[in-house]
């Protein structure tokens, strides 16, 4: 019975069905989605580790393979990641109760003066789907608020997003503020956005530049 639920969960991750109301790629597939199946699995006493490794991660692995062979595209990847992210929200208290750590805490913000958030939102969905605990601080976030969050919540990773050449300079300000607060060595800073680059990341002292959400997953996984 437990195996059936896990197999259905994996299949629904592949199909990108977060809830039973969602349509997957295969229109024949109906019934509970990843969210309902996760709750059902917990009710049946299946361990969160099994749910994550054999259901969610195994499903995402297939999604990744389909993406690399161009059978799947970004909307498919995002739908699956969103489903996994929703399951991770349900699993979070159970993981904490059983002292199981997530892949890490990741805070992300569009820096002050910039209101563009499409890229940031996609990065959030993908990282959450990849098993990170994501804290989205929003858009036009003041530098002080970002520093405060790092001090209080101690994320291992901080993602800074900016679309404009006029606002990308704020990323450097955030890094300086982290240095001045003695927090710079506590957090890896990743930057992304249309105007920035590898060179710019080096110039302002960021740890990495991520070209897109998939790159962000790769970069963070490499730190594991």
């Amino acid at each position: 019975m437990g195996e059936d639920i896990i197999a259905a969960m994996k299949e629904n991750v592949i199909q990108g069905r977060k809830t039973e109301e969602d349509e997957g790629i295969d229109e024949e597939l109906t019934g509970p989605g990843v969210l309902e199946l996760t709750k059902e699995a917990l009710d049946k006493g299946i361990s969160p580790q099994v749910i994550i490794t054999e259901g969610l991660t195994a499903g995402m692995q297939v999604v990744g393979e389909k993406f690399s062979t161009k059978e799947y595209f970004i909307p498919d990847m995002l739908a699956s990641a969103e489903a996994v992210g929703a399951a991770m929200d349900v699993l979070k208290p159970h993981l904490e109760a059983s002292n199981v750590e997530t892949k890490g805490k990741f805070a992300i913000a569009t820096v002050q003066g910039d209101i563009h958030d499409i890229g940031k939102n996609i990065v959030s969905i993908l990282l959450k789907g990849a098993g990170y605990e994501v804290h989205d601080l929003g858009i036009d976030v003041p530098t002080e608020k970002i520093v405060e969050f790092v001090r209080e919540e101690k994320p291992q990773y901080l993602g800074l997003s900016a679309l404009l050449t006029t606002t990308m300079v704020v990323m450097g300000n955030v890094i300086k503020a982290l240095e001045e607060s003695g927090l710079r060595d506590k957090v890896k800073v990743l930057i992304g956005g249309a105007a920035v680059s590898d060179e710019y990341a080096s110039e302002i002292g960021a740890d990495a530049y991520c070209v897109d959400g998939f790159d962000a997953v790769k970069v963070l996984d490499a730190y594991q």
């Binding site: 969602d22 909307p75 739908a79 958030d117």
Partner: protein, 513 residues
Amino acid sequence: MPREGILVEKPYERMTREQVEQIHQASIEILSDPGLMSFNREAAEIFDGKGAEVTPVSPSDHPCWLVRIPEKVVIEALDSAPKTVKLGARNPENMLILDGEEPRVRFITGSETNIWLDVDFPTYVKKSDPATEIQVPEFHPRRGTVADLCKSAHVCEHLETVDGYIRTVNIQDRDITEENKDVNKYFASLNNNTKHFMSGLTSLKQLDNVVNMAKIIVGGEEELRENPIISFITCLVKSPLQFVEDTTDTFIEICRRGLPLVVSSSPQAGSTAPIKEAGIMAQINAEVLAGITLSQLVNKGTPVIYGSVPVRARMDTLGDSYGAVETSQYNVDCVQMARFYRIPNYSTAGVCDTKTPGQQASIERLFSDILVTLSGPQYLHCAYGLLDCNSVFCLLQAVLDDAHFQMIKFFLRPPRIDETEIAEVLKQIREVVTTPQKLYISYIRKVMRSGQLSPPYPFEGDGETDSVFKIAYDRMQELLEKPVEHIDKATTAKIFQEIPGLLPRLNVYEERR
């Protein structure tokens, strides 16, 4: 079900109704004054017996008659010319029904070039960094052969947008002569392609052999009438305003057999037609009307197509300039004239001036491909693989052109806007604006898999290097590997038994022994 092509819901027209009528009237005037010179005795006699004023011209090196055609004769011919022309195919699903009143475009190859362009991809090493290598295409022109024609027909069978096949290359093998060229070009094309096949005829003496070959393929005379798998291009009028002797003979004989044919005129604005738009339009229209009129005088009801290949002269060489913007203007105008007469139009696009594939080729051909397609010709020829005006055919370019036409066909899909769609998108908008991420991405998937989104450009590379040619070349090789739907063994044997002049090496069943 015949091939659908693509319907242009609102065809692009350059001329006002008044201008169309002015061109028509000017053409009618031209046909009666100055009229046409006929170097063909029979044509002169036919016109003479049907109300035209025909007078011998002397002195002349060749017998010649001045033919003045009154308006009434032209109008009666236009009335009797069929408004719908059926072009059959070996595979009946590839049949084309051309309706002169419906701007539904079919994309056709063309058009009998002398030169075949081979492609290869030598590797170049960067001098300053020998570890860096790139592959750059090299193009090698040579005379076309019957093997090339087979290859081209085979690939065009598999190009999705190609609706019909005009032989792309002139066969110039050592064993090809004027006496056997026609049967071999028809057989090579028909044996490697199941779409409609159209061609010019090299020798009138071969007409019956070609028609008999078609009859054997479809099963008989009546079957060929029902499914005319072959048709003919005839340039019987040489610009300006001259019925040529030999092609007019061929034209008359094809009309007598009731097979579909194109009356094609190809004046060059600046040399064989006036440089002004009004002038070339009045003249080409007169030349085509003269041909259509003759077709109906020979055999009332002959399925005839209004063929237009107008082109502007280059000012530096006085050669043709298919890349000139005016060439597209003239072609669009001709489509409008044919629609005025409700006769299907054979139009021209996609030919470029440059000699090899590349940026200029892409710009010139896509420019005319889009504009002339939008005008809604029923039969758009010359569109695949032609370079250097009409001299060179490159199979790689034909593969590239297929992608252009896929994009154009997608663009011409009618808008999907109705009450159901509006209700659905309003629901989406209301839902998405309440979510934290405010993204519509989750709604893409169903649309993406329903075929409603245009596919990416098929020859896009992964990196920053332009890999278009290499990817298209690989695609071309894939197509060449696909199976060929040859004419069956028994029919092939009958054709080789009854049709003289066929090259034994074209018999794939004999070759396989």
